[in-house]
């Protein structure tokens, strides 16, 4: 076989495989296909909530805490207002609680620390596949919600964060069942020390039983809402707007 023909055949093979791959790509990313596949998310959420109900995430002994807890996503918010707060050691920082609540609040870190707290050594599971064990201390979310008084119409809690990632502000949403879970806390300490910037200073969410992207860092504001459809991309979170499941239990 001549070199020319061999080159031509190789080229044909390469373009055919490119065609097959781009065909795969089109099918795999087709919105109708993705919508059909995403029906599994509702099934996972319903089944896992039904059988899991109030189950607690496993808590580990102190000896299991890793010295090498990976900080992922934003590790130093580029936002000027955040940098200014961090420079002052978050002295002026306040957590805003508003939306569908009876008593809107603005709490300093000291005030948050007055709330009933919880310390838990849990495993952080990143959606990428890795896990790290760390100790978290924070205000119980349920106590904070009792203080604010959720209105009847409130169905979800939106967590607005200080950090901008890839051109958009980070945010997350929690359903009330997870807001009320005893291991859902707003952590201000990690491994016995104040939260550091890479891990979300001054305040981050720990909603155990969920993957890492649910554990919003740099939390600034909690808003109780009846629907999150009008917020950002409308899917209930930064990564959710980028295709990830809002139900992050799997």
């Amino acid at each position: 076989m001549s070199l020319d023909r061999r080159g031509w055949l190789a080229g044909l093979g390469a373009s055919l495989s490119t065609l097959a791959l781009s065909g795969c790509e089109k099918l795999a990313t087709n919105p109708d296909v993705v919508r059909a596949l995403s029906s599994a998310e509702g099934l996972n959420r319903r089944v896992q909530r039904l059988i899991g109900a109030g189950a607690l995430a496993r808590e580990y002994p102190r000896a299991d805490i890793t010295a090498n807890f990976k900080a992922n996503g934003t590790i130093d918010p580029p936002d000027a207002d955040y940098q200014a707060m961090a420079a002052k050691g978050f002295a002026d920082w306040k957590l805003v609680v508003d939306g569908l609540v009876e008593r809107p609040l603005a709490l300093s870190l000291e005030q948050l620390m007055q709330l009933p707290s919880r310390t838990q050594i849990t495993r952080h599971d990143c959606v990428e596949g890795w896990s790290c064990i760390g100790e978290w201390t924070g205000a119980r979310m349920s106590a904070l919600m009792d203080a604010a008084g959720l209105k009847q119409q409130a169905k979800h809690l939106v967590l607005y964060c200080a950090d901008t990632l890839g051109g958009a502000k980070y945010y997350e949403t929690l359903d009330l069942v997870d807001v009320r879970h005893p291991q859902t806390i707003l952590a201000y300490a990690m491994n016995g020390a104040p939260l550091t910037v890479p891990h979300g200073a001054p305040l981050r969410l720990r909603a155990e039983r969920h993957l890492g992207y649910k554990q919003a860092k740099y939390v600034m504001r909690l808003q109780a809402v009846a629907s999150f459809a009008h917020i950002a991309g409308g899917h209930g979170g930064y990564w959710e707007d980028r295709g990830y499941e809002r139900y992050a239990g799997i």
């Binding site: 990313t29 059988i51 596949g129 799997i250």
Partner: protein, 294 residues
């Protein structure tokens, strides 16, 4: 050699003479045929979307958590001499896997990624979509597998057709079959009506060990299911162990698939495929006489 219970002896109603010496017997029930193909499709999508998910962190560990830098299996890339090199580490061994593992071309551009684009769904790096595919087919796979195992128990298909008989388990017999397989001599005539012992053991291992292990290790990677079923984490020795075992068992299933396809082709491709579609399998009425071997 004594023969198996006559579960599939050609009776007047199911056997049709095709041509002299050949007879079609009913081999696979409709449940087995349907679940077999659903299983095959689900496993294909699970494997390829699973490799997409693996690529998000192409390192495997044992234990509860990730000891970064000490993965027992790691795929990575490094630049050198103006080119990107792919490296795969398995324990202390390091392999240059440029082009396939660690670094491969995506749309003509050298890219650092675990498995190459022709082995992942979707081809480009897109973890969120890979998860959508994976969890959809995980339900298809689990429900289908549960139906197959449950009906297999109720109909006694497992006990009757897949459990090896006492005579089949004798070491001499097993060795004889290994030797026959190695020479690509497959049972004919009456002996072809039942599965041989290697087939039985392989099918049972896949159906009752490997496939359930995939479901259980998959469940162990869910933080929510770990809270509901803490014993799963204990069983596998941690979430990262479960991720490793998930990968290893998936590899064993791929290995089974390759041997399965080779055996299907070598022992009569069309006859085997037809029996898994129509349910009918052709056998020789009279076994060949001794010394008649090809």
């Amino acid at each position: 050699m004594s023969l198996a219970p006559p579960q599939s002896l050609p009776s007047a109603s199911v056997a049709t003479r095709r041509r002299p010496g050949k007879v079609l017997v009913k081999r696979h029930s409709v449940v087995v045929r349907v679940t077999h193909w659903i299983n095959a499709i689900a496993l294909a999508f699970l494997l390829l979307s699973g490799l997409q998910i693996f690529n998000a962190h192409p390192d495997l560990y044992f234990g509860q958590q990730s000891d970064f830098g000490h993965a027992w299996l790691a795929m990575g890339a490094f630049s050198g001499g103006g080119a990107l090199h792919g490296v795969t580490k398995v324990g202390p061994a390091v392999f240059d896997t440029t082009g396939v593992l660690g670094a491969s071309k995506v749309n003509g551009v050298w890219t650092a990624r675990g498995f190459p684009d022709w082995l992942t769904i979707p081809p480009q790096q897109y973890l969120a979509l890979g998860r959508r595919w994976h969890f959809f087919f995980a339900w298809v796979f689990a429900i289908n597998g549960a139906i197959l195992i449950a009906t297999g128990i109720v109909s006694r298909h497992l006990a009757r057709d897949l459990a090896p008989t006492r005579d089949q388990l004798k070491p001499g017999h097993v060795l004889q079959e290994v030797w026959d397989h190695a020479r690509l001599r497959f049972p004919r005539g009456e002996a072809a009506k039942r599965y041989n012992v290697l087939q039985k053991l392989a099918y049972l291992a896949v159906l009752l060990v490997l496939l359930p292990l995939m479901v259980l290790t998959g469940m162990t990677m869910s933080p929510s299911l770990d809270a509901t079923f803490p014993f799963l984490v204990e069983l596998f020795g941690g979430r990262q162990s479960a991720r490793s075992i998930h990968f290893i068992v998936a590899s064993l299933i791929v290995l089974f698939f390759l041997v399965h396809i080779a055996m299907v082709v070598l022992s009569g491709a069309w006859n085997n495929v037809r029996s898994m579609i129509t349910g009918r399998y052709a056998i020789d009425v009279e076994p060949p006489a001794p010394g008649d071997a090809p």
